[in-house]
């Protein structure tokens, strides 16, 4: 049941999807991997939308060089755990939701436990090895993975529904080389809000998800484009699963 305060808080979006939609958001649990450039806008917009439970995981400490883009954190947070800073901001912006902020490095041994019974995983990471781990977890748990990545003025996003759409390994079978990437804060702003929009549409069960296509943002050209993507039958991550088989790997 929504409280009177919640009804007032969400009035302008409940014009779009009513009590039923808002209840869906309230009852949802989303796992956000990373509290950095992408994790900041994603978690902020999921929080203000009223997603009832958000788990946000990061292992870093706020550094001054983060502040051009990681808008969850500010100058006073330098030296603080990002999870502590994130939890403070998210609860302050919406005290009616539950935040689990976990200070840990995601790895093969803990990913399944950390994600728990979440309804979806947001990829707000900065490296492909952990992205592939999130991809595997999404496949095993049969929940969507909302992928985003950025560099400079460029960004990409896609929504992965295991068994139905190409997975991250189908689309990007090999990780690009590691680098200290250049970026302006507005780029994760664009991609993070695309990811948050995808999560909200998925939870509401409405709209066309960004599936089987990669959204490409070229901020320098002021242009958004799409690249079609297909499943790879022999994909090492999702090759054996089909929606008819319940999405489980055979």
């Amino acid at each position: 049941m929504l409280s009177e305060r919640e009804r007032e808080r969400y009035k302008r979006q409940m014009m779009l999807f009513g009590d039923d939609g808002q209840e869906r958001l309230k009852n949802a649990h989303i796992f956000v991997a990373g509290a950095g450039g992408l994790g900041s806008p994603v978690s902020l917009y999921l929080a203000v939308a009223g997603v009832g439970t958000i788990t946000i995981v990061d292992m870093d400490v706020v550094d001054q060089s983060n502040l051009n883009r990681q808008i969850l954190h500010n100058d006073r947070d330098i030296g603080k755990k990002k999870t502590v800073s994130a939890a403070e901001k998210l609860i302050a912006i919406n005290p009616d939701i539950t935040i689990h902020a976990i200070d840990i490095r995601i790895d093969e041994g803990n990913a399944a436990r950390l994600i728990g019974n979440a309804d979806g995983i947001v990829d707000a990471m900065d490296n492909y090895p952990i992205r592939y781990l999130l991809n595997d977890s999404a496949i095993k748990k049969e929940i969507p993975l909302f992928h985003g990545a950025i560099r400079g003025f460029y960004g990409q996003a896609t929504t992965i529904i295991p068994g139905k759409t190409p997975c991250l390994k189908c689309i990007f079978p090999k990780a690009p080389p590691k680098e200290v990437f250049p970026v302006i804060g507005a780029t994760p702003g664009v991609i993070g809000t695309v990811q948050a929009t995808e999560v909200i549409k998925f939870l509401l069960g409405s709209g066309d998800l960004l599936t089987n296509r990669i959204f490409i943002w070229d901020g320098m050209a002021g242009r958004a484009e799409e690249i079609h993507a297909e499943r790879i039958p022999c994909c090492p991550a999702c090759g054996g699963i089909t929606p008819e088989k319940g999405g489980k790997k055979q």
Binding site: G36, D126, Y128, I171, F172, F181
Partner: protein, 92 residues
């Protein structure tokens, strides 16, 4: 024969994009991209290794379908093809 080659992200910064090309009959996807990227060394090096093969992370698509690197040297381009060459970005 006219085909269009679209570079994305860093490749676009180095080489431009939506490049119309008129390859000779029999040109392969690999030979076409090599020829276009070869106009600028930094762009070529971003896409190809020292043996002239695509870096393993480079995504190559022909009319929306991903082409395996191993096939790029034999897949012939056809009139009207749209080739996309794309580096996944990693930051978050």
């Amino acid at each position: 024969m006219i085909v269009k080659v679209r570079f994305f992200a860093r490749f676009r910064e180095l080489l431009g994009t939506d490049i119309p090309a008129e390859p000779e009959n029999g040109a392969t996807l690999l030979s076409l991209v090599r020829a276009l990227a070869g106009k600028k060394k930094e762009g070529y090096d971003a896409i190809f290794d020292e043996h002239g093969n695509f870096h393993e992370f480079v995504i190559v698509m022909r009319n929306g379908k991903r082409v395996e690197h191993g096939d790029a040297g034999t897949v012939k381009v056809a009139d009207g093809d749209e080739i996309a060459v794309f580096p996944p970005v990693a930051g978050g």
